[in-house]
């Protein structure tokens, strides 16, 4: 009886374990593909964010160069700035979901996100509020952590 049980159990165990290991581990080639995908994800996100950064800094530079900047120049800053920080948020979300390469995450993404919450993000809101008061432009943006929660969470998790 014991022998029969053994004869049945071994193939089942082999099948089940084989199934599990094939599901939960990757071959060398699969791992390499997976890593390449993560690297590409990170690069694509960074490329998009670079474009948003260029748009934002160009809008700021235009405002600075105007002799008498108007509401349109101000709205340009607010629109491109919001988009820039939204891109950072998307990068943070992808990072938290482990969809980016870990080296790019540690060397590039996290330092950038950390700089944003320590420097550019608070200064962005502060400056827009100050300009709107001074020039009489309508602006009611306020920095709230919950609007950028993923950026703060990614920095807290990986920095």
């Amino acid at each position: 009886m014991d022998v029969n049980w053994f004869n049945v159990a071994v193939p089942i165990a082999t099948f089940v374990l084989g199934f599990f290991t094939s599901r939960f581990t990757m071959s060398k080639a699969e791992r390499k593909n997976y890593e390449q995908t993560l690297y590409q994800n990170a690069n694509e996100l960074i490329e998009k964010q670079r474009t948003a950064y260029d748009d934002f800094t160009q809008a700021l530079a235009r405002y600075v160069q105007e002799n008498d900047p108007n509401m349109d120049n101000f709205v340009d800053i607010a629109t491109t700035g919001d988009r820039y920080f939204l891109h950072l948020k998307m990068i943070a979300e992808a990072t938290l979901a482990n969809r980016v390469d870990s080296i790019v995450r540690d060397q590039t993404i996290i330092p950038t996100l950390k700089d944003a919450i320590e420097k550019s993000l608070p200064k962005y809101y502060e400056t827009l509020q100050e300009i709107s008061r001074k020039k009489g432009f309508k602006y009611d943006g306020v920095l709230e952590r919950n609007n950028y929660e993923s950026i703060y969470s990614a920095v807290e998790k990986y920095a």
Partner: protein, 77 residues
């Protein structure tokens, strides 16, 4: 060569000026990737990432500083 080094440093945000041998290694790797069918832009980036240990360090680090400086300038107007 000096011009190429400077361009590489700026384009890939390197924290140091690449040496002659690094430039040669980068060029050989990029070239072989292009021959494999990778687009030149992507080949250059991949080669830079594998050859230069400080790839992309400077440009991104400077992002927040540039934004801060521009915001400061806008505030003064």
């Amino acid at each position: 060569m000096a011009d190429v080094k400077d361009k590489l440093r700026l384009k890939y945000g390197l924290g140091h000026e690449p040496s002659d041998s690094e430039v040669r290694e980068w060029s050989a790797k990029a070239d072989s990737l292009i021959r494999e069918g990778v687009s030149p832009e992507e080949a250059g980036r991949r080669a830079a990432r594998s050859v230069f240990p400080d790839y992309d360090r400077i440009s991104l680090k400077a992002e927040a500083d540039t934004i801060e400086a521009l915001l400061d300038a806008a505030r003064k107007i």
